[in-house]
């Protein structure tokens, strides 16, 4: 059986609540539990092999390019965590079925829980570091959803956001660390990473990697100083806290440390960092747990403290310490999940979690009291419960450690303080809830919840006791196999037992219990003492930091973006200038040394015209018509330049485009103010002149640098293949319709889209129609001069003939669809200009958008046609035919494609120009029309 099934099962489980919600709460809950239970069963079938230390893997290729595989593994460590995730998870799902009130959206809740379960299972089963990281992020996201489940409450939203921010930031750090690990180990596969410990430890980047990985682990496992999100995550529904914040998510960081122990562990840096942070967290958490008033607050800080304990044990790094760490992971999960469930029950039944308002519940809720007492005893480390066993082991290890050198005595001392506080806060919780006399006035109506709600907790509590009594039977094989996965051959033979004889650890345990009782008696006094210390609310500092960050971002944005397009333009140009300048400055010599060609007088003249026109149109920009005329001389000179330098196709295209765009721009002048106001400061002009000349200089330099160097060209391929491969001797046209036909197809699509876009923009246009020119002379009312009418009519057939000629010869001589299309468009446009829109439209009732679309479809069909014959898209075919009267003629599918190009160009060009022209007439497009029949009736 493939291991892939296990995460797949839990993932499928996210759908179950939705499918079964209609059956009611109870069946839906039970159905949701099916998937995790099957997954658990599947894992348990491997039990004998896992106990022997076998590693089971299965892998599927996913993204081999980045080394990301869907690889899963099952070993002792995975087994330990999977039992917690699936086993405790199922119990908590069952519990949640009772916990949620009837009107709450249980579908969403269960789906989120299953999603989270999938993520956790993914982390512990991943056999690939990148995959593990993906699941790691998924736990952050799904826990965000779960903590914020009661989204109407602001503390839930804030808590969710805070936990996402902290664990998400840690996740990013972890990703960086993982990428570096993968880089050094050469692979992300777990096996490779775990066996390249030597390589990693000797790498110069080891401290950095370790820092990044620890950032990820410590944020996730709420280690001091990143612990602050956990108490705020208590805003989550209690089943979430019982699941995420006791047994699973917060253990993910610890899991990571255990998993990577073979790769990163066994250095003094590792040991010291873990031990210091673990020790700090252990005492800090215990102290604050003692001061909390909220039941869940006590448990949250106690969790922080116990997580610190495990990290400390991992840091001590002796074989027995690691065994103790693994054992405590199990024990803590069992008793803390139970305690959270109990807190949920108490909250559920009494309506409060404030320890000062509770009391005397022992008689009212005997079952809840039992399970709380059992698991509380385990948390406090009182024999004969499981918590006692792992704490004894910790004390033994910590007494003999020399990790802090001369300060080593500090470790047992701090641990003793932590253990004492742990006893104290447990006693406080149990005493405050069940034994103390109630001080609050409200009448008590609490009673034990339905069986289904306390049974999951009770079973776990009993398990705590059983593990304490029979550790060698119940826990030792599991812990042994987990230890094999973490420390391999150095796994010691260990013996869990309640009685190790009279020794120092036992004495310390007794001290802790006695001290705990003493502390509890002096709780009010200690509380006052704590109140003297400056209170620091993590939430407020966090929110303040977030607000500061937002403000800074806002400030920066405002600096860069003040809403002026001109400013953005200038900034963009400036960066372009700097980049190009940097590039050019790295060249030794601007000139590449190629022999320069001589200049003749004609070229000089044309160049002069261009320079004159360009500068002129810039200087005269306030006299718009003059500026436009200058521009048109430049355009014509450009087409002459193309003629001179052997590009007849370009010259023809430029010429016809020039005509069309001049008509367009003159039309535009009609709709725009004739003269802009003069409001420009000298400074602005100076700045723009500077930018423009710098840019021009760089372009000139760049162009010169290229022109004076020999370039590598792929021209030969096209020149050789044009006739045999494309069946045409005009190489430019063959490239357009054949070699690079797909590009051309994209380009005519853009053309058609631009046309359609302008068509939309012209709908419901408010018009500014000037009645005369600037001097106040009114426009002539005689719109269509007779001579123009006659000439236009006379020219039309000729122009169409030329267009057809240019089109047909295009494959072999300069010409082709683009040019022919433009000529046709201009010829037709002439009619509109000479006779007006109405007259022409009567005689030429063509919808240009349709023409453009037909053109596109023709081109597309030509391309698809080659598929029919089993060739790739747009493969061209051609042959020579003998046609009577005409002679030997070549027919190519490329010609069909060119027809598509032709039609698109005609359609798009006329769509733009005719519509713009028609805006002034009664036939201007209106919104109503456009909604109903815009695509069909382009010209109405």
């Amino acid at each position: 059986m493939s291991l892939l099934w296990i995460p797949l099962l839990t993932l499928t489980g996210t759908l179950v609540p939705f499918l079964t919600a209609s059956l009611g709460r109870k069946p839906s809950t039970l159905a949701t539990m099916v998937a995790p239970l099957i997954a658990l069963f599947l894992i348990l079938t491997h039990l004998p092999a896992l106990f022997d230390g076998t590693v089971i893997t299965s892998s599927l290729e996913w993204f081999p390019q980045i080394g990301l595989d869907l690889a899963f593994r099952l070993d002792g460590l995975t087994l330990l965590f999977a039992l917690l995730i699936l086993g405790i998870g199922s119990l908590i799902l069952f519990y949640a079925g009772y916990y949620l009130s009837a009107k709450e959206n249980d579908r969403r809740f269960f789906a989120f829980m299953m999603l989270f379960m999938t993520a956790m299972i993914g982390i512990v089963m991943a056999d690939n570091l990148l995959l593990m990281w993906l699941f790691w992020e998924l736990t952050s996201l799904s826990s965000f959803l779960l903590i914020g489940f009661w989204g109407h409450r602001s503390d839930a939203r804030r808590g969710a956001r805070m936990s996402l921010a902290v664990t998400g930031a840690g996740g990013l750090a972890l990703l960086a660390g993982i990428l570096m690990i993968g880089d050094i180990a050469g692979s992300f596969a777990m096996e490779t990473v775990l066996s390249s410990g030597e390589l990693l430890r000797q790498s110069e980047y080891y401290p950095l990697i370790l820092t990044l990985v620890l950032l990820g682990a410590f944020t996730k496992s709420a280690q001091f100083p990143f612990h602050f999100w956990l108490p705020h995550a208590m805003a989550a529904p209690t089943p979430v806290s019982a699941y995420l914040h006791s047994s699973t998510m917060v253990k993910a960081g610890i899991f990571l440390l255990a998993r990577l122990n073979p790769a990163l562990g066994d250095t003094s840096l590792w040991a010291i960092s873990l031990a210091v942070f673990g020790l700090a967290t252990l005492t800090y958490g215990a102290w604050f747990a003692f001061l909390q008033r909220d039941l869940k607050g006590i448990l949250a800080f106690s969790t922080i403290s116990h997580l610190g304990l495990v990290v400390l044990l991992l840091g001590l790094s002796t074989p027995l310490a690691i065994v103790a760490a693994l054992f405590h992971i199990l024990n803590h999960a069992l008793f803390k999940a139970t305690l959270f469930m109990s807190a949920g029950i108490i909250d559920h039944e009494t309506g409060t979690r404030d320890i000062r308002r509770l009391g005397g519940l022992l008689a009212l809720m005997p079952f809840t009291a039992t399970l709380t007492l059992l698991s509380g005893a385990a948390m406090a480390g009182i024999p004969p419960f499981n918590g006692f066993l792992s704490k004894e082991m910790l004390l033994t290890e910590v007494v003999s450690t020399e990790i802090f050198g001369g300060l080593s005595l500090l470790a047992p001392l701090l641990v003793l303080i932590g253990a004492t506080l742990s006893v104290a806060y447990t006693l406080r919780l149990v005493h405050g809830v069940f034994f103390a006399t109630r001080t609050a006035r409200e009448p008590v109506q609490a009673h034990d919840p339905p069986k289904g709600m306390y049974l999951p907790g009770l079973s776990l509590a009993v398990l705590c006791l059983l593990i304490g009594l029979f550790p060698m039977t119940l826990a030792a094989p599991l812990i042994n196999s987990a230890s094999l996965a973490v420390q391999g051959a150095s796994t010691p033979s260990f013996y869990f037992a309640l009685w190790h004889g009279l020794n120092l650890p036992l004495l310390m345990s007794l001290l802790a219990i006695g001290g705990g009782v003493l502390l509890l008696m002096h709780h009010p006094r200690l509380n006052t003492l704590a109140a003297l210390l400056p209170a620091k609310d993590a939430k407020e500092s966090f929110e303040r930091a977030i607000i500061r960050l937002t403000k800074a971002a806002y400030w920066l944005t405002l600096r860069l973006e003040n809403g002026s397009l001109q400013r953005y333009q200038a900034l963009l140009l400036l960066s372009a200038i700097v980049m190009t300048g940097l590039g050019l400055s790295q060249m030794e010599l601007l000139s590449g040394g190629k022999r320069l060609q001589s200049v003749d007088s004609l070229v000089l003249l044309v160049a002069f015209v261009m320079i004159f026109g360009a500068i002129g149109s810039a200087l005269a920009h306030r006299w718009r018509l003059v500026s436009l005329l200058m521009l048109s001389t430049v355009g014509l000179a450009v087409s002459l330049t193309f003629v001179r330098f052997s590009a007849p196709d370009l010259a023809l295209t430029q010429l016809s485009v020039e005509v069309a765009s001049m008509i367009l721009l003159i039309l535009a002048l009609f709709f725009l103010p004739q003269r802009p106001p003069r409001w420009v400061s000298r400074r602005r002009i100076a700045r723009d002149l500077l930018l423009a000349s710098a840019f021009g200089l760089l372009i000139a330099g760049l162009n010169f640098a290229v022109l004076t160097r020999d370039t590598l060209s792929i021209a030969d391929y096209f020149l050789d293949q044009s006739v045999p491969g494309g069946g045409g001797s005009n190489v430019v046209n063959v490239i357009l319709v054949d070699f690079r036909g797909f590009d051309t197809f994209g380009e005519i699509t853009v053309l058609a889209l631009a046309g359609l876009g302008t068509y939309k923009l012209l709908n419901r246009l408010r018009l500014f129609k000037p009645s005369g020119n600037l001097e106040g002379i009114r426009w002539s009312s005689h719109r269509y001069p007779l001579i123009f009418e006659v000439i236009a009519q006379f020219i039309l057939p000729l122009a169409l003939l030329v267009s057809a000629y240019i089109f047909l010869r295009g494959h072999n001589e300069p010409g082709g669809g683009f040019i022919a299309g433009l000529i046709t468009a201009v010829a037709l446009l002439l009619q509109y200009m000479a006779r007006g829109y109405e007259w022409t439209n009567e005689r030429l009732p063509v919808s240009y958008p349709i023409v453009a679309v037909i053109g596109l479809l023709t081109a597309l069909a030509t391309g698809l046609g080659s598929w029919v014959f089993g060739y790739p898209f747009l493969t061209s075919a051609f042959d020579y035919f003998d046609i009577p009267l005409i002679g030997k003629t070549e027919l190519a599918t490329a010609l069909l494609f060119d027809i598509g190009v032709y039609l698109t160009v005609v359609g798009a060009t006329l769509m733009i120009l005719v519509n713009l022209g028609s805006v002034t007439t009664a036939h201007r497009p209106k919104l109503k029309e456009s909604l109903q029949n815009a695509p069909q009736e382009g010209n109405k």
């Binding site: 295209t653 103010p673 372009i699 000139a700």
Partner: protein, 112 residues
């Protein structure tokens, strides 16, 4: 020749940029057209400057590089489409905002 050619592209793009930085839509469109002339010439020249060497098989001994020509040909047509779109956008903006400033609001263009 090469020097003159690069001088022309330089002047064209410089003038285009100056116009592009103006505050009125029409100047921007003219500037963009100028700039596209310059860019087309620049791209075209990547194949080198050849005289009497049209890229038609059989027309000359050593034809010019046809690839930049094909690229520039489509660039010219698309440039036209884009200019057209800009023009209509400018007209529309003027109709909506009542002025032809690029930001859509009449402002003191000397200050920012």
């Amino acid at each position: 020749m090469e020097l003159l050619f690069s001088l022309v592209t330089g002047v064209l793009s410089g003038s285009g940029i100056y116009l592009l930085l103006r505050g009125r839509t029409f100047s921007v469109i003219v500037g963009l057209t100028l700039l596209s002339y310059a860019v087309n010439l620049f791209l075209f020249s990547m194949g080198g400057l050849h005289t009497d060497a049209a890229a038609v098989i059989g027309a000359s001994e050593s034809p010019a590089d046809p690839l930049p020509q094909a690229l520039v040909l489509t660039a010219i047509v698309i440039g036209f489409a884009m200019t057209a779109f800009m023009v209509i956008l400018a007209i529309r903006a003027r109709a909506e905002f009542g002025n032809d400033h690029v930001d859509g609001k009449q402002g003191d263009e000397g200050v920012n």
